[in-house]
Amino acid sequence: MIGLTAVFIGAALALNIYVGGARFNAEQFVPNIVVLGITRELGPVLAGLMLAGRVSAGIAAEIGTMRVTEQIDAMSTLSTDPFRFLIAPRVLAAVLTLPVLVLGADIIGVMGGYLVATGSLGFNGVVYLRNTFEFVESQDVILGLVKAAVFGFIIAVMGAYQGYNSSGGALGVGRAATNAVVGAIVLILAVNYLITAFFVE
């Protein structure tokens, strides 16, 4: 799913940059700006938003169901810390896996731009890839991966928080899932700006 999103975004980005660049004879910068936009911004943000919809809601629903069916209380009475058993593994998994997904999304997104640029914009494939790899710096990729890890943390914590504090039966679980998705999306976008501003400075 993230791969599909990335390939289409990379393709659309290449088209838009080509159109914009043509206005001041800068069409040749398509590969440079595509790789910069994908690795620094669109790869992590889009992957984060997609996973906020899937994973954050899923975690909130799972933990929320356990809350309203008293499974979390039962866990406490059995001397098992719900945080260690339910929340910590999910947070750790999200923090570790999202950067891997974003790395894949970066590659697929760049390839989306490559396909459009070579297929319909008349770019030479070898030149496009050489410009891409010569322009991108390791800090661009690292910035994207740092963002991804932070977004993974936000997604899992928001889902777990909303689920853990849910109440009111099935209605409450649904509300928790909705709140988790909305909260995670807003936080991802806000934190994305802060991380970018921090790295730029």
Binding site: E70, Q71, D73, A74, S76, T77, L78, S79, T80, D81
Partner: protein
């Protein structure tokens, strides 16, 4: 008769009820070896009383003494140890639906006591053999 658990001036409010006190100054003696039944209508605070007594919910004020120890003043880890003195059967069963039946039964052994799954299985088999009716 030895007193096992005692609540003193227990009061708890729940935010969902707009700050209305569900429990207000509840004094309850639970003697060892005796059964105590709480009866009341829906929303009268039976579950809140139980959860406060077990340490699942923190009262706004008051004490809960279990074997003379105030569990409301305990840290989280100490409260977990105090909970080992209780067993609770939840209204809806509260079975862990992501686990198998035997994992539900062996939950405390595996996840709280750190017994390996193989060891827990062996104990299950030993108990099963010991309790199986003889032909």
């Amino acid at each position: 008769m030895r007193r096992w658990a005692r609540t003193s001036n227990l009061s708890a409010s729940r935010k969902k009820l707009r700050g209305r006190f569900v429990l207000d100054g509840v004094d309850l003696d639970i003697p060892a070896g005796r059964s105590l039944v709480l009866i009341g209508g829906s929303g009268q605070g039976k579950s809140v009383t139980l959860k406060c007594t077990l340490g699942l919910m923190q009262p706004d004020a008051g004490q809960v003494l279990v074997d003379g120890e105030d569990i409301t003043a305990l840290k989280r880890s100490e409260r977990e140890a105090a909970m080992r003195k209780f067993g609770m059967l939840f209204q809806g069963g509260a079975l862990f639906d992501s686990l198998t039946v035997w994992e539900n039964i062996a939950f405390r052994l595996i996840y709280a006591d750190g017994v390996s799954r193989n060891e827990a299985r062996e104990r299950r088999d030993r108990n099963h053999e010991a309790r199986a009716p003889r032909a």
